[in-house]
């Protein structure tokens, strides 16, 4: 058996997952993991599947395109990346919240600075309702900070951004959000 990575994207409508999974099933494949999301009216999904060694990625791609032809989807099939062996204990999950009005280049500025510190963004949400309330104009980055990142330096760098762009940026450990919001932890 071998692992393949499938990505599917297109306008959201009933039947996308049905079409994709049926092709995989018919070709003796097995879905190991699937994540789908909706952004406004766009559907996107990533699937990690295992297929018999005899299966050629190109053939599977063709079969998927054929099955999805009416749905007008973009489909890619690639060999799956080997699983990362990085032990979870060496990262600390933080939440970086950025309060202040939306402006061009904001995500780029923040995410580039996070990348410089080897900080990995695992999820990002943005809320821009307008108005003056700080929490109505907010970007939330859920991030993993590796052990070698110097938190003090990261905080200083983000502080420099917040000072120059009149934003309010806070970096807080994710545990505080979890302990306050979840009954089980």
């Amino acid at each position: 058996m071998k692992k393949l990575l499938i990505s599917v994207m297109g306008r959201d409508q009933p039947g996308i997952l049905a079409a994709v999974s049926t092709v995989i099933y018919q070709r003796q494949g097995n879905i190991e993991n699937l994540s789908q999301t909706l952004l406004q009216s766009v559907f996107g999904a990533l699937l990690i599947i295992t297929v018999p060694d005899t299966e050629a990625p190109d053939d599977l791609h063709k079969a998927l395109l054929e099955a999805c032809s009416k749905l007008q989807l973009t489909v890619h099939v690639n060999p799956a990346f080997p699983e990362s062996s990085a032990p979870g204990a060496l990262i600390q999950p933080y939440i970086v919240s950025v309060m202040g009005p939306d402006r061009q280049g904001l995500v780029s500025t923040i995410s580039s600075r996070l990348a410089q510190h080897d900080v990995n963004i695992t999820n990002m949400q943005a809320v821009f309702k307008g108005g003056d309330k700080a929490l109505d104009n907010l970007m939330i980055f859920e991030v993993d900070v590796p052990k070698h990142t110097v938190m003090q330096k990261l905080r200083e760098d983000l502080k420099a951004i917040s000072d120059s762009l009149s934003l309010d940026i806070s970096v807080q450990h994710r545990k505080i959000f979890e302990s306050v919001s979840k009954i089980r932890n």
């Binding site: 919240s97 700080a134 907010l138 939330i140 806070s170 302990s179």
Partner: protein, 458 residues
């Protein structure tokens, strides 16, 4: 994964609603420091306190930064000095208080509690010396807090001790006349004192506690007020008191979780055991950090208006329930405080005449502490102070709850005048006491009030 709503509500709690870790308090047992040589004793307690809590301030600051929650105060509570300093006379115990003050200054903390005695059934030699030392100890030190437990539901009420406390309060206030009697604001008289209070001025480390222990006092009246105001704004027509109680309970649980998380990390880094979370709505003289404002958010014209006692009962109970659900180790006072001078809204209710001493006393029968930070006219006699304390103790003893009195007879001031203590102790009006300047022969009878019957509950 966390939802956007969860993240925003947590951010709001921390940023805008004054969720704060009011205090992380390290309790330190001093029984192994005992000596009948004053210099040896002083040296040992200074060493043990500064050694055990050496990293308290830096660790709290570091953990506070990690979670984005300020640890507003770092404090120490110690074994009752009347017990560990029993061989000494009053003058020597004042020196011990100054040693505690020095330890607190060296650690960079604002208060150290435990200049305390437990005298509900009688006074030992050490207890009597400590009570005698209290006025000078509090007047000469900056950071030392004193507490004396004069009554319990199991032992009854020690009226002789209450009379001594009336005199001690009067004398402490006189000695700090220039600061509106500030020393009396650092002195609390208790019934049923808990052994593990992290909040000042009543903190001491009970005899049944470990050698050293980390406890946390969480506060956040602003968070509760905002949760209620938000609920009324969203769905005001469908809110009844069941719902109000539920909202307070859930909010209290969230606050407790945040406090416990931070305190446990601090305890781990200090290599000390974790004690309790004390979730108390403890106001400060800042806007959006007031217990009085919560009363107005549910529609009462002001704290003290009819309906206030019922709402306080509901509030105190819901806070306790939320805390008890969120943490297995809830302790201390856990509930709602109604300190007059520390809460601008309550102080204003007194000034406007909504809240009088008699109503405040009634409300203390359902709050978590008692008559707290109550400034009284300077001509209130020691006997009348003792009588006010005695009434407050009776409420606690009969209702099997903690009650306390922190009374400040402000020298030279009369009812309606404003007093100013500064900092967390705040400011406020002097409350009128009926018959305050008179003698009180009843209190002079002294003796012990027997412990109440535990059956025939009506």
């Amino acid at each position: 994964m966390l939802s956007e709503k969860d993240i925003i509500s947590t951010l709001a709690m921390v940023r805008e609603e004054n969720l704060d870790l009011r205090t992380i308090t390290v309790g330190i047992n001093l029984t192994d420091c005992v000596s009948d040589n004053l210099d040896v004793f002083k040296g040992k307690i200074l060493d043990k306190i500064t050694r055990t809590a050496a990293n308290l301030v830096p660790v709290c600051d570091r953990i506070g930064r990690r979670y984005g929650i300020d640890v507003a105060n770092k404090r120490i509570s110690v074994s009752p000095i009347a017990v560990v300093g029993a061989p000494f006379n009053a003058g020597q115990l004042v020196e011990v208080a100054l040693t505690l003050d020095q330890a607190a200054a060296e650690l960079g903390i604002d208060f150290i509690g435990g200049f305390s005695a437990l005298v509900e059934k009688g006074l030992s030699k050490g207890d009597a010396a400590l009570i005698e030392a209290i006025p000078q100890a509090l007047a000469q030190s900056q950071r030392v807090c004193a507490s004396v437990n004069v009554a319990t539901t199991r032992a009854g009420i020690n009226m002789d001790a209450i009379m001594l406390m009336g005199k001690a309060i009067k004398s402490a206030a006189e000695l700090t006349k220039a600061q509106d009697g500030l020393a009396a604001a650092k002195l609390v008289v208790f019934a049923n004192i808990p052994q593990d209070i992290p909040f000042m001025a009543g903190a001491y480390l009970g005899i049944g506690e470990p050698d050293a222990v980390v406890s946390v006092g969480v506060s956040g009246p602003g968070v509760v007020k905002n949760a209620l105001e938000q609920a009324f704004a969203d769905d005001g027509e469908h809110i009844d008191l069941s719902r109000v109680s539920e909202i307070i309970k859930q909010t209290a649980a969230r606050l407790t979780r945040a406090g416990e998380l931070v305190a446990r990390e601090v305890a781990t880094l200090l290599e000390l055991p974790f004690g309790v979370v004390d979730l108390s709505l403890a106001p400060t003289p800042n806007a959006n950090d007031s217990v009085g404002e919560i009363f107005q958010s549910v529609g009462l014209p002001a704290i003290g208006a009819p309906g206030s006692t019922l709402f306080l009962a509901l509030l105190n109970d819901a806070v306790k329930k939320g805390g008890a659900f969120a943490s297995s180790h809830v302790g201390g006072l856990s509930g709602a405080f109604i300190p007059v001078c520390e809460d601008l809204n309550i102080a204003n209710a007194v000034t406007s005449g909504s809240l009088v001493l008699e109503k405040l006393e009634a409300m203390t029968s359902v709050c978590s502490v008692g008559l707290d930070m109550v400034a009284l006219p300077g001509d209130t006699t020691a006997e009348m102070l003792a009588a006010i304390i005695a009434d407050e103790m009776a409420i606690g003893v009969i209702n099997k709850k903690t009650t306390a009195a922190r009374l400040i007879p402000v020298p030279g001031k009369k009812a309606g005048d404003t007093v100013y203590f500064g900092g967390l102790l705040g400011e406020g009006p002097v409350m009128a006491v009926k018959h305050g300047a008179e003698e009180n022969r009843f209190i002079r009878l002294g003796g012990r009030v027997p412990a109440p019957i535990q059956s025939l509950v009506n």
